[in-house]
């Protein structure tokens, strides 16, 4: 990037010892009357889309409209895990591309996103579950993705603090390790993309809520916002959690329900959990942040809601999983706990596509997996907007796939699993 104040060791020293204050990372922009592309939603995906529109496609008359402030939504509410251990074609290649972008992201953005490839281990609690993981590992390796199958002894060596006692309800049989998986600092991802997009001239407009679309002959010509009318050549939705709400303003109904996913942070402790671990007996995942807090989460609450406040029984189940897996943390206190609203789709896979409404593009339906997808989603969505055609990597994420019988059901568990 060409930023006037590029971050470097030298700039760090200059600001540490000099009187110069750190400049704002991005401008506070007033909305202009018109843009080539208006992106609704200033989350990680919206900002990444703006950045790649400018960096890859030379489209720089772009506005990102954020209802609140940058980092207030799901980009700051996830458990920061990045990985590419998927099972079926489409997902596998897309998420691996995303992980490759993650690996170069700090350099590309000149912003340290603190990618930590500490490895993720998915646990198996029986021979059949380990068979499934072996199959997944083989699929990953056939796609050039790193995967190592671990037996019980290998898991004991890497994760000696799990419960290996004889009478445990779900004994640990083995696991699948992806060494390149890990975590990234989620706030830095939002700020890094915002700063890099701003550097290309993208206007990032915070506290600007879209209240309606300017429609003519079935096509979108711009948006009405709380800060005035903005006309747009193309309009892009990147508002996962509220996709149904915003799309409805353009007369579009989506196969999405909004649900809550909770996340938890314990009090900080010394380095202990050195990997990302996924429990195989329930949906539960845990890692340790650089500040020392254990970061973990579980299932969605199970009924649609926009409250951003989780229900207590889920917190209890998650805590039970944590203690079942790692008994030694039973006396740790939770210090923070929150919920994010997410678009749940019937098959658990997202949308990055054109829509039946002309000039309106959709990136949403991210279910649990939006954060790790941020770079590739931005990359593919920018391509979709710039060329009015889906990127080869995201063609599988089309809006009409349920009508066509082309679902991407990575869990193999059928539609709307939480309603079954």
């Amino acid at each position: 990037m060409q930023h006037a104040s590029r971050y470097s060791a030298l700039s760090l020293a200059r600001h540490a010892f000099g009187a110069a204050r750190w400049p704002r990372a991005w401008r506070s922009s007033e909305p202009k009357a018109s843009y080539d592309v208006v992106i609704i939603g200033g989350g990680g995906h919206g900002l990444a889309t703006a950045y790649y529109l400018a960096a890859n496609h030379g489209i720089k008359r772009v506005a990102v409209l954020e209802r609140s402030y940058i980092g207030s939504g799901n980009v700051g509410r996830n458990t920061t895990i990045v990985r590419s251990n998927y099972l079926i074609d489409g997902n596998t290649q897309f998420f691996e591309y995303s992980l490759k972008l993650w690996e170069g992201l700090s350099h590309a953005l000149n912003f340290n996103v603190m990618l930590s490839q500490r490895g993720q281990i998915v646990l198996a609690h029986g021979p059949s579950q380990l068979d499934v993981l072996a199959r997944k590992g083989n699929i990953m390796r056939l796609n050039g993705i790193d995967a190592e199958l671990l037996d019980r002894g290998a898991v004991m060596k890497l994760l000696p603090y799990l419960d290996y006692s004889a009478d445990v309800r779900f004994p640990i049989w083995g696991g699948l390790l992806q060494r390149r998986a890990g975590t990234a600092r989620h706030d830095a991802v939002a700020w890094g993309y915002a700063r890099a997009a701003d550097d290309f001239g993208v206007d990032i407009i915070e506290n600007c809520e879209v209240t309606g679309f300017l429609m003519e002959n079935g096509q979108v010509l711009g948006v009405d916002t709380s800060r005035g009318r903005i006309s747009a050549g193309r309009t892009a939705l990147s508002v996962a959690g509220h996709s149904s709400q915003v799309a409805a303003m353009a007369g579009l109904k989506l196969p999405i329900e909004s649900h809550l996913l909770q996340a938890f942070v314990s009090e900080p402790i010394k380095p202990f959990v050195n990997h990302v671990i996924s429990y195989g007996a329930e949906l539960f995942y845990i890692s340790q942040s650089d500040k020392g807090g254990l970061v973990f989460g579980g299932h969605i609450d199970g009924f649609n809601s926009y409250t951003q406040r989780g229900q207590f029984p889920v917190a209890q189940i998650v805590a039970e999983c944590a203690v079942a897996l790692i008994p030694s943390i039973s006396r740790l206190r939770l210090v923070r706990h929150w919920a994010g609203i997410q678009d749940m789709t019937p098959d658990g896979s997202p949308f990055i596509c054109r829509t039946p409404v002309r000039n309106l593009y959709l990136n949403g339906g991210w279910c649990y997996q939006g954060f790790k997808a941020t770079p590739a989603a931005g990359w593919c969505f920018a391509h979709t907007i710039a060329h009015d055609e889906e990127h080869p990597l995201s063609r599988c994420f089309a809006l009409d796939r349920f009508e066509q019988g082309a679902e991407l059901d990575d869990h193999g568990s059928g539609n709307w699993t939480y309603k079954q």
Binding site: Q245, K253, P255, I256, Y306, T307, K419
Partner: protein, 89 residues
């Protein structure tokens, strides 16, 4: 904790119930053959932020299906009634 008034059993924790989705839609007649109708019924939802009518089953109680009014923006539960007759038989 979301508390649901079961028409048979009274007010209980939501964990006694299983969620059954949007109750405001009408199931198409079984002999409807066109794909679009079934696609809309199975997959597409209004997903409103506000008042919502939804099915719940009291699986750990009377096992009756009920229709609950709940505000999805606040989780405030409203009235509930037995669902019989709401879904097609």
């Amino acid at each position: 904790m979301l508390r649901i008034k079961c028409p048979c059993c009274g007010e209980r924790d939501y964990t006694e119930f299983t969620y059954g989705g949007d109750a405001s839609r009408e199931r198409p007649a079984p002999d409807r053959a066109d794909r679009q109708t079934w696609y809309s019924y199975v997959f597409v939802f209004d997903n409103p932020k506000g008042p919502h009518q939804e099915f719940w089953q009291h699986v750990h109680g009377c096992r009756q299906w009920l229709v609950l009014e709940r505000n999805t923006a606040t989780n405030e539960p409203g009235a509930s009634r037995r669902a019989r007759g709401d879904a097609s038989e």
